[in-house]
Amino acid sequence: MKYHASQGIRVAAGAAVIALTASACGGGSSDSADGTVTLTVTTHVDYGYRDLYKEYEKSHPGVKIKEVLIEDLPKKLVTQLAANRGASDVVGLGDDIIGKFKPSNQRFLNLADHGVNNTDDPWVKWAYDYGTVDNGKYVMGMRTDLGGLGICYRTDLFKEAGLPTDPEQVSQLWPTWDKFTETGEKFRAKVKDASFTANTGDVWVGMGNQHKETFFAESDDSFIADKNTTLEQNFLTAANMSVEKVSGGYPPFSPEMANALKNGKAATAVCPAWKLDRTKEASGPENSGKWSVAAAPQGGNWGGSYLLVPKQSKHPKEAVELARWLTSSEVQKKLFLSKGYLSSHPAVYNDPEVQAKKDPYFSDAPTGKIFAEAVDSMEPIYRGTKDSDVASSFMNALLRVEQGKQKPEAAWDQAIDDAKKVAGE
């Protein structure tokens, strides 16, 4: 029997080696014989880093950067963290999902131990703080960009409706979201074949980033959406936009919405800074100069990301150095000027060169100024650890109103019930 058994072990070992080799291809870092360090950076969308990687490789001989883009990164990352292998050296997570990883902060390097703080080259305080846990003692991530909040609008359709087209004047049309709806009603009275705004989901998300607390209490992370009257008011305001036919019901991020933007079927869209590039892409060169950007009612921020270094990285020092550079004010200024991504460093968004930036595609609207104003006065927002879990209950509720399945009040009630179930209340 001995012969049999040892052979069996050998086969099993062989199979295991195959398995390990296969899984090693999944990601992670590797070294080549000549001492070159290869760093893998995985992000959930294109952060616009490609040219910067080349620049970094040139200034840091011996470092090679491998770029990976995985839209479902959070879902991959959880298994990589659980298995303690396969994660990249640097990962990029959106500000809407990083909260979900905070209970597992120990799986990421404490960047504070690697000299990251908010005094040299400081980020805007609320954005930096949100990337930390343990009262700022554990720095999990470094902020890349901010979203800011603006409203993209079609000047040709606004003209048709007899509305002003200058960004300054347009911003004054809607100091509040209620006024935004009113403007929409005026617009719809004149223009029949286009909706005023693309959908209510985007409006809701924009609103949600304007208040200190939304679904969960800052004091104890308990579910408070059912008692949060501001939240309910916001929801009803957004939902009523579909009742009043102000919203076109083109679902967020859908091909239908892209089509609507391209074909002038929606006069406005909620636009954080990172969306300008997408709007441009969706509506194509033929609409250049037809779009412009105004301030959003009540300012705010939607989106932006963090770079984190998983503890399993084999090159923590090099990874932190790269991530620090990618989130530095120097690089963020470049990214704003080339891609329009709003910097999370006040030194950058207050920079005269940034503030003076204009884009002919968006009728030379002063985007740098508009977005900087939206974020500069922001109060820190509290997000619960289950924030991203319950968010879809509310998005679904707005969708039900847009699909004509429910009235706003009933949709709100169901959203609260659904969210309570998800949050395990």
């Binding site: 879809s392 039900r400 699909q403 998800v422």
Partner: protein, 327 residues
């Protein structure tokens, strides 16, 4: 296994020491016996090792997880016994997902097999360029499911989708396909049929080619119609293939995921429509496990699905045996 215990190449050397010679012979014969008895097992061992490592072990481990409160990253958070199972059976979203999966199984999988039979019957006739057509019907299956689903989601778009444009031409109002259960199930079934009909069609076709032509000819001389020949001769003749396909497609159908998930306007963040009207079991598992990071609950769902698939496949096996036999 009966093999004679002699092997070539064991010619005895001119050994002066009979004792030593004897010991060597004993050793060799023991080796030969081991070889004959155990080598076949060694040859099939790799399969069982891989099956054990990648199928059996995860299966059992998932079962173990389902008795715990288990967070996907941080792991075990405490034993809960049957708690997860109790929660699951009281969870209305689970029953909703089960209903949707069942509907998709009837419409999608039922539809795909009927279309597959029809395609196979068509291609079984004498056609010019038959190789081209035969290759053509599996084409939808080769295309990535993500691409197919995204294209169909656009075709089924409410305001800009082509299907609604066509319906408009014949005077039917635009349908918001994602909004209601019936329309969403029909739309998702269409995607499933599109993807799988050709695949099973080819399997059926291969089986039909083996049906003796004499049977057809005899029936034709007796004056049977094409339809009659198909249902009374062709279908019963390929019964084993039909049973295989029914069981396979049931297993695949119970795990339907990508088509409905990408049909959702919110993509992988979606819950199968604004009111979970087309969320399948697999989608609910994904939501629990990978969006809420609740691995214990997802493991419970996985085990319940495993048992359900076994039961439903068994029922379908029994049913398809009866339907196809026309003795």
């Amino acid at each position: 296994m009966t093999v004679t215990e002699t092997r070539p190449g064991t010619e005895a050397p001119m050994a002066p020491d009979p004792g030593r010679h004897h010991r060597r012979r004993a050793w060799r014969s023991r080796l030969t016996r081991f070889d004959l008895r155990y080598t076949p097992y060694l040859f099939i061992l790799p399969f069982f090792v891989i099956f054990g490592v990648f199928a059996l072990w995860p299966l059992l481990y998932t079962g173990w997880m389902s008795f715990h409160d288990w967070a996907i990253i941080e792991g075990d958070q405490g034993w809960t016994g049957l708690g997860n199972y109790q929660d699951l059976f009281a969870d209305e979203y689970f029953w909703n997902a089960l209903l949707n999966t069942g509907l998709l199984l009837v419409l999608g999988v039922g539809g795909e097999l009927l279309v597959a039979l029809w395609l196979a019957a068509l291609l079984n006739r004498k056609l010019s360029g038959s190789a081209f057509w035969r290759a053509g019907i599996v084409l939808p299956h080769i295309v990535s499911v993500v691409a197919v689903s995204l294209v169909f989601a656009q075709l089924f778009g409410f305001q800009t989708g082509i299907f609604n444009d066509v319906l408009g031409l014949v005077g039917i109002d635009r349908i918001n396909w994602q909004a209601n259960r019936w329309s969403a199930i029909i739309a998702v079934s269409t995607i499933i049929i599109w993807r799988w009909a050709g695949y099973f069609g080819l399997i059926f076709l291969a089986a039909m080619q083996g049906v003796p032509r004499e049977l057809h000819e005899a029936a034709m001389i007796d004056g049977a119609s094409r339809r009659r020949i198909f249902w009374s001769i062709t279908v019963p003749s390929i019964r084993p293939t039909i049973i295989f396909s029914v069981v396979m497609s049931t297993i695949i159908g119970m795990q339907t995921f990508a088509e409905p998930q990408l049909f959702d306007v919110q993509g992988t963040e979606g819950t199968g429509g604004s009111d979970r009207q087309f969320q399948t079991l697999m989608m609910y598992l994904y939501e629990k496990g990978f969006r809420e990071f609740n691995a214990g609950y997802a493991a419970t769902l996985a085990w319940v699905m495993f048992l359900l698939i076994a039961i439903v496949s068994g029922i379908n096996y029994a049913l398809s045996r009866r339907i196809a036999s026309k003795d």
